[in-house]
């Protein structure tokens, strides 16, 4: 087991103190990171004491140490999952050969690109969420937001560590650029479109952490199957943190649904009456779900992708749980894909490697189905007949085979006319956004909660809900 070094400026389990060159590089990046955090991190709470968990090692007990801490003083560290002796390249043409401990020259650019693209999403989401603290429904939720934020920051550290250690000058420049791009800024946008969309209310935040962070989970799983071992180890540890983000999202929506169900039980299901009670009506929840789920589907990339094929072939990126498959080379197999041909949906056989994005998306879709199922359990428990559903993956897409073609949420091809006439039933309208926004008022008294969301079943780290998760 690796030994964590917590004494230096940068906590780590990668023997940073013995690598002076790398230490110097990271120490010179650190102040720029703090500058970025002060400028773009949570707005208005930098001086407060937040009850956060901090990773101090990668073993079971070490990665979740709790205590009150000011965010700028958070101990962002570099932790990689422990090295597995004799690890082999898990997929592609080099399957079964020793995993690379250094970057192979011919894959340097592709790997750098992948790491930069992944790394870019981490600060992007902090930027997207930076004003949410001002309207948190409870201190518990405020704390969860900040936990997610600091951990996204740590994920950025993890990617920067890889860039600094393995990619020379180019890597250092890319690391600087990660602090220069800004979510939603036309002049220096974040790389992926979804990470430039605003996340301005808490319903969006919970949807984002449910759906967009879940894309992150699947991307990290695929990168955890990389033949480039340092990337694999980094991602494996990041996954432990990512699951908390999805917990925040999934339970957040669960509580919004619960509150909605309680209100419906009281005043009936009509959206107007639900809204009159200060809760969020189910159709609006569904519309937000539709929007964030489909925009997150886009993050997996095109259904047919030669880039995805070559990443797999080169062993740079595998599938979700690669070891559960029998064939790790995938030269011969096919994938049955539904595509649009002459205004009809038809089945097409795609070479397996070309379909790698879609295969990863399959896992994601089924994971999301389970999530929606759990939300529906809440409705069921509250004795409601209504149900939420996951729209078809073809609905409302901006990337890939189905982009710019109109589908209904069931995945049927529809006319532009039908789309225009029904769009407002499927996706949030300006009025919906305005309504949700009108609910966004801060609740900062311990133990109190906003009208549109139910309190959590239990607090963080066995603390009660009333606990003072954020102290002035």
């Amino acid at each position: 087991m690796s030994v964590a070094d917590l004494s230096g400026r940068i906590p780590n389990n990668v023997n940073l103190k013995d690598d002076k060159r790398l230490l110097r590089a990271l120490e010179s990046w650190q102040p720029k990171y703090i500058d970025w955090w002060m400028e773009m991190g949570p707005d208005g709470f930098q001086a407060d004491q937040i009850y956060l968990r901090t990773a101090i090692s990668v073993d079971r007990d070490g990665w979740a140490q709790f205590g009150h801490v000011k965010m700028p003083e958070y101990r962002w560290g570099i932790f990689l999952a422990d090295r597995e002796d004799g690890r082999k390249i898990p997929c592609g043409d080099h399957y079964g050969k020793d995993a690379w401990q250094d970057v192979p020259g011919e894959h340097r650019n592709a790997l750098r690109r992948m790491i930069v693209t992944q790394g870019d999403t981490e600060p992007a989401s902090v930027e997207q969420q930076r004003r949410l603290g001002q309207t948190a429904p409870s201190l518990y939720d405020l704390r969860n937001l900040f936990q997610v934020n600091v951990e996204e920051g740590r994920h950025l550290w993890a990617m920067v560590y890889l860039l600094h250690s393995y990619f020379g000058r180019d890597g250092r420049e890319e690391a600087e650029d990660l602090l220069v791009r800004r979510s939603g800024n036309a002049d220096k946008p974040r790389i992926l479109t979804t990470f430039n969309d605003p996340c301005e209310d808490w319903l969006s935040f919970f949807m984002f952490t449910t759906f967009t962070d879940r894309d992150g989970k699947f991307q990290l799983h695929a990168l955890a199957e990389s033949g480039f071992d340092p990337l694999s180890r980094t991602c494996r540890f990041m996954l432990t943190e990512e699951s908390h983000h999805m917990f925040v999202g999934e339970t957040g929506i669960q509580r919004v649904v619960k509150r909605c169900a309680e209100v419906m039980n009281k005043v009936g299901p009509e959206p107007d009456r639900v809204r009159a009670e200060g809760a969020i009506d189910l159709p609006t929840i569904q519309k937000y779900l539709n929007m964030w789920y489909t925009s997150s589907l886009d993050l997996f990339g095109g259904e047919k992708s030669s880039n995805a094929a070559s990443y797999f072939a080169e062993g740079l990126k595998g599938r979700f749980m690669e070891s559960k498959y029998d064939d790790h080379v995938c030269v011969d197999g096919h994938y049955d894909m539904t595509v649009v041909q002459d205004d009809r949906l038809v089945q097409e056989q795609i070479p397996l490697r070309i379909a790698m994005n879609e295969i990863l998306r399959d896992g994601y879709v089924s994971d999301c189905e389970n999530t929606v199922e759990r939300w529906n359990k809440v409705l069921e428990r509250e004795g409601r007949e209504e149900r939420l559903y996951l729209p078809n993956r073809r609905f409302n897409r901006r990337v890939g085979e189905y982009a710019n073609i109109r589908f209904d949420p069931q995945g049927n091809l529809i006319s532009e006319h039908e789309w225009t006439s029904k769009r407002d039933q499927w996706l949030p309208t300006t009025a919906d956004f305005a309504y949700v926004k009108s609910l966004m008022h801060p609740v900062v008294e311990p133990g109190k909660i906003a009208s549109w969301i139910a309190p959590p079943q239990k607090g963080i780290n066995n603390q009660p809900f009333e606990f003072e998760y954020v102290r002035k």
Binding site: V180, R181, D187, A309, A313
Partner: protein, 561 residues
């Protein structure tokens, strides 16, 4: 590998802005805007999906047409802005699946045509003073960046993402096929070591570094990009207005070229294209074409009359027709190896036209006609078919049309005892139509004997076969007894030789004299690109080009040649 040109419907060449599919051409005062908006599903081959503003021949035909129309129809234009309609995507270059599924001959001809179009863009600026600005408003890779390289000024938004790139070597195992590498070091004078790094980096170079490396001229924050492009277009237009005389509207519309076509029924038969001044008979069974260019029947007497005739003026129309004939040959008749070039009509009318071309060279329209003739002759120079000029009684190889003799690989002139058969030079042979090497065809012809070029130019009258032979103007001058046999044997012999060897031999011999960027581009295209496109490392079963977009990785034969 199947030949694309064979399996596709025949390619047609005429284009009109009203029916452009892939570009939007707009005019605002003295600035023209040409915006790329490639329609994915409207490629020449219905099976090809033109993703991400990637282009096929159809896209490039429209581009070439637009450049041509700006010159003739919009003399008021001082600056051309080339950009794209698609957000975040400028142009992804030539469509790779289209290239990968095309036969070698089509691929090379496609690349050659796109090269010519890029050179036309450069010529628009160099010869007509229309400054060109490329607003690279999104990813520009491969041919997309090569398109930018053909413009005078390249602007890139600085958004941390948008890059210019040449991914051909790392991703496809081929070369940027439209003169990109040559333009990097020769035109933009990018340092060769940086060019080496750039050309092996699939993701390309962005932002300040792209300026530092001289890959682009200017980077601007995205939010200010449009405004900066407008400002720069204004500056370029004003510079152009100061440097070149006013070119008064109205322009000269270019109507479609009417062409009658006859197809013989049997497979080995002939296809004949009949335009007003040019006829091309393609003898498919014999792999030979015969082109006849006819002299004007009458000649305008003044500039006003020239302007009144407009696009109907012989000097313009005849060479537009010849241009289309060459494209027909290149794309629809890949196996025609030998072209016999003949003329017919009154040499005096051609000479009279030359005098007009000379006298009114300062008029913008006449000037554009001269440029057009020069470009068509250059297209003839780089047409990879054997060209034999056949000079018989009744022909009119005089002045401008004598360039056809000089452009040919060989010439046969009938030395007839009874019938008059002459060639004649005019001042127009003295440098009005420079070749890619910057020299006139006459100077290139007599590279080692410059005095002979001077002597030929000083003879202001028709010369007969014996004299032409003596002066070194023609290759052979058989008499009427030998003529038919000589010609037949020459044709049969030529038609029997390896087409590849002939292409190589002719390309080597045609461009003696100095190297220019243009000769380098075509030279390297026909040598290196041509060769790489043939090699198993590119097009073999596991070649990089074949493997692109497929699940398997390329495998290389590592021996360097």
């Amino acid at each position: 590998m199947a030949e694309t040109a064979a399996k596709l419907p025949e390619i047609r060449f005429g284009r009109r802005p009203e029916s452009y599919v892939h570009w939007k051409l707009e005019f605002q005062g003295d600035v023209a805007r040409l915006r790329m908006a490639v329609q994915e599903d409207r490629g020449l081959n219905p099976d090809t999906v033109l993703k991400l503003n990637s282009y096929d021949l159809g896209v490039d035909l429209e581009l070439a047409d637009a450049v041509q129309r700006i010159r003739f129809e919009h003399p008021e234009v001082r600056c051309l802005v080339v950009t794209s309609v698609t957000p975040r995507i400028f142009c992804a270059g030539a469509n790779i699946p289209m290239l990968a599924s095309s036969g070698h001959a089509f691929k090379v001809n496609f690349c050659k045509f796109t090269n010519e179009t890029r050179l036309y863009l450069e010529d628009l600026s160099a010869a007509s003073g229309v400054r060109t600005l490329c607003a690279v408003n999104g990813t520009a890779s491969g041919g997309g960046y090569e398109l930018a390289l053909a413009c005078d000024w390249i602007m890139l938004p600085e958004d941390g993402n948008t890059a210019v790139s040449f991914p051909e070597v790392p991703l496809l195992g081929v070369l940027p096929g439209t003169g990109g590498l040559t333009r990097l070091v020769d035109k933009r004078k990018v340092r060769r070591d940086l060019a080496d790094v750039f050309s092996s980096l699939a993701e390309g170079v962005k932002g300040r570094r792209a300026v530092e490396w001289r890959l682009v001229d200017e980077v601007v924050p995205s939010s200010q990009f449009q405004a900066a492009v407008e400002r720069r277009a204004r500056i370029l237009a004003d510079e152009s207005a100061q440097a070149t005389p006013l070119r008064a509207a109205p322009g000269v519309p270019l109507p479609d070229l009417a062409c009658e076509r006859d197809d013989a029924r049997d497979d080995g038969g002939a296809t004949t294209f009949r335009w007003a001044h040019v006829t091309m008979k393609v003898l498919r069974g014999e792999r030979r074409a015969e082109i006849e260019v006819r002299a004007p029947e009458s000649v305008p007497s003044s500039l006003d009359e020239i302007r009144a005739q407009a696009a109907g003026w012989w000097a313009l129309r005849c060479f537009r027709e010849l241009d289309e004939a060459l494209l027909q040959l290149r794309f629809n008749f890949l196996d025609v190896g030998l072209v016999l070039v003949r003329t017919k009509g009154e040499a005096a009318q051609v000479i009279a036209t030359d005098e007009l071309l000379q006298e009114h060279a300062g008029d913008w329209f006449v000037g554009e006609v001269r440029h057009q003739i020069r470009r068509v002759l250059k297209r003839l120079d780089v047409t990879a078919r054997s060209l034999f000029a056949v000079i018989e009684p009744g022909s009119c190889f005089a002045g401008t049309l004598f360039e056809l003799v000089l452009a040919s690989d060989r010439t046969y002139m009938l030395d007839h005892p009874d019938e008059a058969n002459h060639v004649q030079l005019s001042e127009m042979n003295g440098g009005a139509y420079p070749m890619a090497n910057g020299l006139s065809r006459l100077d290139t012809h007599f590279l080692g004997e410059p005095e002979k070029a001077r002597e030929a130019l000083s003879v202001n009258e028709p010369v007969d076969a014996a004299t032409a032979m003596k002066m070194g103007l023609v290759t052979f001058a058989p008499d009427d007894i030998d003529w038919e046999d000589e010609l037949r044997l020459a044709v049969e012999e030529r038609s029997s030789l390896s087409p590849d060897a002939l292409t190589g031999m002719e390309a080597n011999l045609r461009f003696a004299g100095p190297e220019t960027m243009e000769t380098k581009i075509f030279g390297r295209l026909s040598a290196w690109q041509n060769w790489i496109f043939q090699r198993p490392n590119a097009v073999g079963e596991r070649g990089a080009l074949t493997s692109y977009g497929k699940p398997q990785r390329p495998e290389f034969d590592w021996r360097r040649t």
